[in-house]
């Protein structure tokens, strides 16, 4: 089935996703300051994409690799397509930014105001905060400019003195604020440091005439090892030619305005960019180069933000101990509609509970000053047996993770770091309690991280159970991750990379056999991303056999819907809303048994083969029904849904009833008894 046209390309599919994020900034139904945030997220997403994926593709090109991937592109073709699409998105982004700035102006919120301004405050900021930390460098006399670090903003300034042209660089240091806000006459004025420097640029070079200048930044190859899961699919094919890889290569140059050919040639020269080849990697933004500052725009007018919502606590859990409730029934919570504090408080409670013998938990990405980490440390200091399996390899979070790990170790926790070659992505917590002489285990299985901050903005399922078989296998899973042994029988839970791929194949095969026997067969898969040849083919087989397949895939999706004879039965949608869709839920009709699973795994090769992921069937009827209802809401959504048809994502057009699944789920859970 591996032919050229039936798979979406991974990078382009991701760019489609990021464009859908950008469209949230364009969406007039989204509050203004939230639109700014989407604009910023689009921009920071692109930064990471260039550092990792574009860098990887460039390595392939440098190594002379010309093979086509499953979507039919060679690396250099895909780089061209990426450049084309990103240029288009940057243009869209600039126009949205300008439109939003105008709308904000009407509300007396001024970003980089051009109107006459009280220079005294700006003088104060410039002379006391910015000027002391910047060091302009004259570079005309040297061949090699100072190393410009990844994503550092930098001014290139052309100066004139005594009829002599000189070039200079001003690198904007990190230790200045990202945004300066000045409130005056009921107006809000926002400046970035680079905006202020621009206003004072003449003052920085006394005795020189500033002829021209521009702001730019470079994006460099992130120093990910070849075996890193984010690039392994690309770089493993050139393993033998890895010497061709140059660390910290420049993969993108962004310039904030159109510049003259002369200036363009100069910057290319100084950055060592090949004039013929790299033009497509230079992006003229026509808006602030780094939009992440928009995340720091804070206004008091609540109308500029989403209506605040209070995460709900179901009545049956109010002022109750989870231990008491979970003994009687399984608990399903859905973030952020349900309050994650229910879980974090329970973890703290476990640490103080005299009957708790041991606490074990995986930590992948958690927030600064995490209460959960504190709770674990507290439990250990009280003499409880506490084990934390810390995944240090969570991308860009390594340093933070090392800090928690140390803190936990110092307090007496047994901290282990999983596997050198497998990232631990499963989110599990296990408390073992002695109740009336008997051992009772309480397991928490989640699709999301133990992160109190992201718990407010990511959708995720939390499941708490005392079911013996599940708890026993989760206990084995900790033993496995802590290096006790790798000989276990997994029957209640499925585990990547052990048997998850096979389990998914069997579940899909069953639906195929049902469809072939002309019986009802249906699959609903809600994940973040799909990109795995075998899984894609399996889903295509299901579609081609008559299984009704509904894919709710927020990000990358290798599957194309609507291909005659192959994927006419496959519906693919992506929901981009107020919350980041993050829960992974799987539904199989299973001959009427209707089996529902939650997981941490996406249908990506890395999740199925390189990560420790958990896949658990929810057997508790009440919890299962709730998850099925959530899936139904996802399918019904017509306000935040994008449908993939003929390779293009298009917004749903609501006919009669407008349906926003995120709002509806929260509404439903707010009324939960």
């Amino acid at each position: 089935m591996n032919s050229v046209r039936i798979y979406n390309n991974r990078e382009l599919s991701w760019l489609d996703f990021n464009e859908r994020v950008l469209m949230q900034a364009y969406d007039g139904t989204v509050p203004l300051c939230e639109r700014l945030k989407f604009l910023a997220i689009h921009s920071t997403n692109l930064d990471e994409f260039f550092m990792i994926r574009v860098a990887g593709l460039k390595d392939l090109v440098s190594a002379g690799y010309k093979e086509r991937d499953i979507s039919g592109f060679t690396p250099s073709e895909i780089l061209n397509e990426i450049s084309f699409r990103v240029h288009r998105q940057i243009k869209e982004s600039a126009s949205i930014f300008n439109a939003l700035a105008l709308e904000l102006l009407m509300l007396k919120i001024l970003i980089f105001p051009v109107e006459p301004f009280d220079m005294e405050i700006l003088d104060e900021i410039f002379y006391s905060e910015i000027s002391p930390v910047i060091t302009p460098v004259i570079i005309s006399e040297i061949d090699k400019i100072p190393f410009i670090f990844n994503l550092k903003l930098c001014f290139f300034v052309e100066l004139e003195r005594e009829n002599r042209i000189l070039n200079s660089l001003i690198i904007i240091p990190e230790n200045v604020k990202k945004v300066y806000k000045i409130k005056k006459s009921k107006k809000s004025y926002y400046f970035t440091p680079e905006n202020i420097i621009e206003r004072y640029i003449d003052k920085i070079f006394p005795g020189y005439a500033v002829k021209d200048y521009f702001l730019f930044r470079v994006t460099r190859n992130a120093d990910l090892p070849i075996r890193h899961e984010d690039v392994e699919d690309l770089l493993s094919v050139i393993e033998e030619n890895i010497s061709a890889r140059k660390w910290s290569n420049i993969v993108r140059v962004e310039i904030d305005r159109e510049i003259t050919d002369g200036l363009m040639n100069k910057i290319k020269y100084y950055l060592g960019i090949d004039v013929d080849y790299e033009d497509k990697d230079i992006y003229i933004t026509n808006r602030p180069v780094n939009l992440s500052f928009l995340l720091n725009i804070k206004e008091e007018n609540r109308g500029l933000y989403y209506k605040p919502f209070k995460p709900a606590i179901p009545d049956y859990l109010k002022n109750k101990s989870i231990f008491d409730i979970a003994k009687r029934k399984d608990i399903l919570l859905f973030r952020p509609c349900n309050d994650f504090k229910i879980v974090s408080k329970w973890i703290a409670e476990a640490g103080n509970d005299k009957n708790v013998l041991s606490i074990k938990m995986t930590l992948y990405r958690t927030d600064k000053n995490s209460k959960i980490v504190e709770a674990l440390a507290n439990a250990a200091s009280k003499g409880k047996h506490v084990c934390a399996v810390v995944e240090l390899k969570a991308r860009f979070d390594e340093e933070k993770n090392v800090k928690w790990a140390k803190k936990l170790e110092e307090s007496g926790c047994i901290v282990t770091y999983g596997f050198p070659d497998k990232k631990i992505h499963a989110k599990i917590f296990l408390a073992t309690r002695k109740e009336e002489g008997k051992i009772v285990r309480y397991a928490h299985i989640s699709t999301g991280n133990y992160n109190e901050y992201t718990a407010n903005i990511y959708t995720d399922a939390d499941y708490i159970t005392t079911e013996e078989e599940a708890c026993s296998e989760i206990s084995n899973m900790f033993n496995y991750m802590m290096g006790y042994s790798d000989i276990y029988k997994w029957s209640r839970i499925k585990l990547a990379p052990v048997n998850l791929r096979q389990t998914l194949a069997e579940l899909i095969d069953f639906e195929i056999s049902e469809a072939q026997a002309a019986r009802c067969a249906e699959i609903i898969i809600k994940v973040n991303s799909v990109f795995d040849g075998e899984m894609t083919d399996k889903i295509y087989s299901a579609g081609a056999s008559g299984v009704t397949v509904k894919m709710i895939t927020r990000g990358i999706c290798s599957i194309k819907s609507g291909i005659i004879g192959l994927s006419e039965n496959i519906e693919i949608k992506s929901i981009i809303g107020r919350f980041l869709e993050h829960a992974r839920i799987f539904y199989f009709y299973a001959g009427g048994k209707e089996r529902v699973f939650i997981s941490t795994a996406d249908l990506m090769t890395r999740n199925l083969d390189k990560r420790i992921e958990l896949f658990l069937e929810i057997k508790d009827a009440e919890s299962k029904n709730l998850l099925m209802e959530i899936l139904e809401y996802n399918i019904k959504d017509n306000l935040k849904s994008w449908y993939l048809t003929d390779g293009v994502y298009a917004m749903a057009e609501p006919k009669n009833l407008k349906f926003n699944c995120q709002e509806r789920v929260c509404l439903k859970l707010a009324k939960q008894d």
Partner: protein
């Protein structure tokens, strides 16, 4: 024992160390309930060292210590301090440096290891199978051979009508066989296995006179676990045709290919050929079509054995049957043995208010009552010494070596002389017996000697006895149809130990049996 207890078992086997944490509770209606909380297998090839080099290498000792550090943490997690047993089988038992191994683990982790006697191991496994295999009773009564095929040894327990006809542990373990012929070319290695295993079958046929009465074969230990993993049987048996089919398929192929072919690990692939051929050849030799097995693992069996003190149902009754079965082989005076047994049991029961007789002491009393004269078969004059030797050479499932040895000591001392060290050659006795154990032996001998004296003529003149126990004396009234002169004479000679042991005299009165 409390109603709920968290108990740890560590089974140190040839291919790995297994740790099981169990919650054991007693429900008055349903009896004992064992819930496995955790079961962890730590792969470690101790057997590879022992069976090839005869000792456990430093590297393995250190790796074992690392594993035991993890087990210690596991014990800590569940608050297990003393309530565990860490049991070594043949891989440690047969290693020359076993004491170093045990000491190293103790020093490094504080965990005390014990070496289990091969007969105890066999018996525990027999109990496990008998409790969990459906239809076991029927198989056993028709005649069955229990093959406990482990890495180091094969334990053979042949039983018919609840009686063990043969019980022995032989060095035919699967890994041991693999190691023994490791230098032979892969293509013909199976032939060496076959020759060696055929010798085992021959040995069994020669050693067990009633081998031809066996109809069933029951397997146990990790070997049947491995076969289950491969065949995934729905019932608790494998067909000989399946086992033979697999053996023919793999017998000439090398270990790495077996791993790939059957998706099993290297260790299992190494032992698979010997495992299959041992079972196939024993099955063929008795004409069995099925190999039965129980899926209860050894850790479960150990937990049950140590914590619940599992014994066979009506164990003492079975024990008496075993003793008479063995006695019969050596032509014992059946009637005398029964009479002495009856008298000793009566004396024991009458003393229960003033004296505690522990279960092992009772077993020794029963055993010595039945077998004390077994040495007559070899030499009538020094029969007590030969009794000692014969009893010590027996293997009685479920009876640990110390109890059997106590029976042998009692048989040695059952004569009319006073119990004394000097009667026994020092190498038999000295340094072997603790003061506590000596008391046990004294208790049993004191009763045995009186019971034996009461049938000194071997003619059962005294038909019955009645006992009255007061603060001052134990009064025995013997009911006889004639005056039992020999019995009265020997009673006087043999009753002195009783006073010395219990601090109370025993007196005999004879009542002629008339009305």
């Amino acid at each position: 024992m409390k109603s709920d207890i968290i108990f740890g078992i560590v089974d140190i086997g040839a291919g790995g160390i297994r740790c099981q944490i169990s919650e054991v509770s007693k429900n008055s209606d349903a009896g004992w309930r064992i819930k496995t909380i955790e079961y962890i297998i730590f792969p470690l090839s101790i057997g590879m060292d022992t069976f090839l080099k005869k000792y456990i290498t430093f590297d393995t000792v250190y790796r074992a210590a690392e594993i035991f550090s993890k087990i210690k943490l596991k014990f800590k997690e569940y608050g297990i301090t003393g309530n565990y047993r860490a049991v070594c089988t043949s891989a440690v038992r047969d290693a020359e440096n076993k004491h170093f191994f045990i000491n190293h683990i103790r020093v490094r982790t504080g965990i005390e290891l014990e070496i289990i006697d091969e007969n105890d191991e066999l018996y525990i496994k027999y109990l496990g199978v008998s409790e969990t295999l459906k239809g076991f009773k029927k198989l056993e009564s028709k005649g069955a051979v229990l093959v406990n095929l482990s890495s180091g040894n094969v334990g053979i327990n042949i039983r018919k009508n609840k009686i063990p006809l043969f019980s022995s542990t032989l060095p035919y373990g699967a890994l041991r066989i693999f190691q023994l012929f490791s230098d032979i070319e892969e293509r013909v290695k199976y032939r060496a296995y076959e020759q060696y295993i055929n010798k085992l079958v021959l040995l069994l046929k020669k050693s067990c006179a009633e081998y031809d009465k066996i109809t069933s074969v029951i397997g146990s230990d990790t070997s049947t676990g491995l076969l289950s993993e491969i065949f995934k049987p729905e019932g608790h048996f494998f067909d000989i045709s399946d086992l033979t089919g697999l053996y023919l398929k793999i017998k000439t192929i090398p270990v790495p290919e077996i791993c790939v072919e059957l998706s099993i690990n290297d260790y299992d692939a190494k032992i698979l050929k010997p495992v299959l051929y041992v079972y196939i050849s024993i099955m063929k030799s008795v004409g069995a079509k099925k190999l039965y097995f129980s899926d209860q693992n050894f850790s479960d069996q150990l937990t049950r054995f140590y914590l619940i003190k599992t014994k066979e149902k009506k164990f003492n009754k079975k024990l008496i049957e075993y003793f008479f079965y063995f006695g019969k082989k050596f032509n014992i005076d059946d009637k005398h043995a029964k009479q002495v047994l009856m008298f000793s049991e009566k004396i024991r029961r009458s003393l229960k208010n003033i004296l505690i007789i522990k279960p092992d002491e009772r077993a020794a009393l029963i055993g010595s009552a039945v077998l004390h004269d077994i040495g007559y078969y070899t030499n009538i004059n020094d029969h007590h010494e030969y009794s000692y030797r014969i009893i010590n050479s027996l293997n009685i499932p479920g009876l640990n070596r110390e109890v059997l040895e106590n029976i042998a000591f009692c048989a040695f001392f059952h004569g009319s002389g006073e119990y004394s060290f000097s009667d026994m050659a020092p190498h038999y006795y000295k340094d072997k017996v603790s003061s506590e154990r000596e008391l046990t032996i004294k208790k049993v001998i004191s009763i045995l000697k009186i019971a034996d004296a009461l049938d000194a003529s071997h003619m059962q003149l005294i038909k019955d006895i009645r006992l009255e126990v007061s603060d001052k004396a134990v009064n025995i009234t013997a009911v006889s149809s004639v005056t039992p002169f020999l019995e009265i004479k020997f009673f006087k000679l043999k009753s002195t130990d009783f006073l010395e042991t219990f601090g109370i005299p025993v007196e005999l009165a004879v009542k002629l049996d008339y009305e």
